[in-house]
């Protein structure tokens, strides 16, 4: 194998643009791997891990472009690097450049703006977002890796000036029917929702829509908002906004378990809310919280959706989610096809909240599950690339996304991992999630379909069968069209559910000890 790299001074591009260039270069015959990235400190560390270092890389600045190539021969490396300009030109043609390059220029162009959205490297966010707040704008921050003390300063400033900071690490919001970031196309309605996680909000809002109801507003607050360091500043402000919003009849909060101090503070506020409140902290209500507080507690996102719909639609209460008789029968038929060796579940999830909720459901069913993002420290994987017994991987974790596209945008990493798992004869179940909506991949199912088919065929050659269980999060109105994506999965023999919780329950049923079956 031959390697090579070049550094281009003062050529800055955003990460999605670079991903496009990377895709173009990696398609050249004989190329094993390419990396097209800006010379930030983190990216330079990444290159050292790949064995690339030297004075030229060390002295490169964050505005410098680095292109690295691993290929079969030195000639191919040269060809790729010689093709860089053409790849940059082609990519620029597909996404014409803006003539504006700073927030200040944007304010001149749109003096009546009411929101600034940031998706820039985390180390620059504080400075830029503070400028937006000082210009009296609300702020949506998609960027991650913003230090907590900077997040707190931004949120305290915003709170003092009656402005909202959604984020950092905020994937989704829906305001007055407009989806910002990774949002699904949902009906306008009377259910308001607040959540730190993008996929949690996407699952909630899509399920509400698919049940025939609608969303007033969905506030993303950022993945650290409910930590004790931040104290839920944005969550509490969003709650105030929904409580006084005439359109909103019921308010739901969907989140991973908050910090202890923040939880108590939040529950005290929720108890005094003048609108009905549904709270889902992914798990049973916290033990030290008074459950007779008028708050409707939900264990899973699906339960939160049902409760919100009951209140909003003034319907009778319905039982929580459970498998149907047909699904129990399908589980029995599926198990019967396994070889004697097959016994383990491997989940490869693009949504962090889905990875959390699936673990919660499996652990509650008494099934020990290992992860790179475990719910209990004893279940932490030694290495995220090496599955152990029952394993669920959060493929959107920083370890996978540093310098690479998130699995919601590009399926390459999940595809490789599906194939890797299929060589392990003890694997019986593959659990996947597919997330539709604005800014997600236009064909998330199509990207993984070949790998799913190949993995199933490999297991069949060994006298077994791989049960591929998947959930799909989205609506028919999404750019990808729910029905179209679902049809592709069903035609490939995938057992499909329209909720991650239900898919996880089905996995529990598949893993029931033989004596109980």
């Amino acid at each position: 194998m031959a390697t090579g790299f070049i550094v281009r001074k003062n050529q800055y591009y955003d990460s999605v643009f670079l991903m496009g260039v990377n895709n173009r270069l990696s398609q050249i015959q004989g190329v094993q791997q390419t990396a097209v990235l800006m010379a930030s400190e983190k990216n330079k560390e990444l290159l050292v891990n790949f064995g690339l270092h030297g004075e030229e890389i060390e002295s490169a600045q964050p505005n410098d472009l680095i292109v690295t190539v691993i290929a079969e021969t030195p000639q191919i490396v040269e060809t790729v690097l010689a093709n860089l300009d053409q790849a940059l030109i082609s990519q620029e043609a597909s996404a014409p450049a803006s003539h504006l390059h700073s927030l200040e220029e944007g304010l001149v162009e749109k003096p009546f703006a009411n929101l600034a959205a940031f998706s820039i490297p985390g180390e620059y966010v504080y400075r830029e977002a503070m400028k937006a707040l000082e210009a009296n704008l609300n702020v949506f921050i998609f960027s991650s890796n913003v230090p907590l003390e900077e997040e707190l300063k931004l949120k305290q400033f915003a709170s003092e000036h009656k402005l909202l900071v959604m984020g950092p690490d905020c994937g989704t919001s829906i305001l007055g029917g407009v989806g910002i970031g990774f949002a699904n196309v949902v009906r306008n309605g009377t259910i308001g929702v607040i959540g730190p996680s993008g996929t949690g909000l996407q699952e909630f809002t899509s399920q509400v829509h698919n049940a025939g109801y609608g969303i007033s507003h969905a506030f993303g607050t950022g993945s650290h908002d409910l930590s004790d360091e931040i104290g839920g500043v944005t969550t509490l402000m969003a709650l105030d906004a929904l409580e006084t919003d005439e359109q909103t009849e019921v308010i739901a909060i969907v989140a991973k378990p908050p910090g202890q101090k923040t939880l108590h503070h939040l529950v005290a506020r929720l108890k005094n809310c003048t609108r009905p409140v549904v709270a889902c902290f992914l798990g049973t209500p916290p033990e030290d919280v008074n459950t007779n507080s008028g708050i409707l507690w939900a264990r899973m996102i699906d339960d939160a959706v049902l409760s919100a719909i009951q209140v909003s639609g003034k319907r009778e209460s319905t039982p929580g989610i459970q498998l149907t008789e047909t699904e129990h029968g399908l589980a029995r038929q599926t198990r019967a096809k396994w070889s004697s060796e097959q016994c383990y579940l491997r989940g490869l999830l693009a949504g962090g909240t889905f990875c959390h909720q699936s673990q919660q459901i499996l652990l509650e069913a008494g099934i020990e599950v290992y992860s790179n993002a475990p719910l209990k420290p004893q279940y932490k994987l030694t290495h995220p690339d090496h599955s152990y017994k029952h394993t669920l991987i959060d493929m959107g974790d920083d370890a996978y996304t540093l310098g690479k596209p998130h699995p919601m945008i590009d399926g390459t990493m999940r595809k490789q991992r599906i194939l890797a798992e299929s060589y392990d004869p003890s694997v019986a179940i593959l659990l996947l999630d597919f997330i539709l909506g604005y800014n997600a991949s236009m064909d998330p199912v199509g990207e993984l379909l070949d790998a799913i088919v190949e993995a199933k065929q490999r297991m069949q050659q060994h006298a077994g069968d791989l049960a591929v269980v998947a959930s799909i999060c989205g609506t028919q109105e999404d750019p990808q069209e729910l029905d179209l994506q679902a049809k592709l999965l069903q035609e490939a023999g995938v057992i499909l559910f329209h909720s991650n919780a239900k898919a996880s329950l089905f996995c529990c049923e598949l893993l029931k000890p033989a004596k109980e079956v």
Partner: protein
Amino acid sequence: MQNKIEELLHEPLVVINVGLKGFAESLEQQEVEVVQIDWVPPAGGDPEMIDLLERLL
């Protein structure tokens, strides 16, 4: 007069999108007024130089 958060909920959004173009494109698809900023780190991305520049300006 409504505050800026209420405006966010009840008035049409006017967005300055700093960074990924896709976010601006999806807002345009929803007929939202949006301006795209192709952001570049100031002062070559050097934090000390950025601080110095900010103090000078």
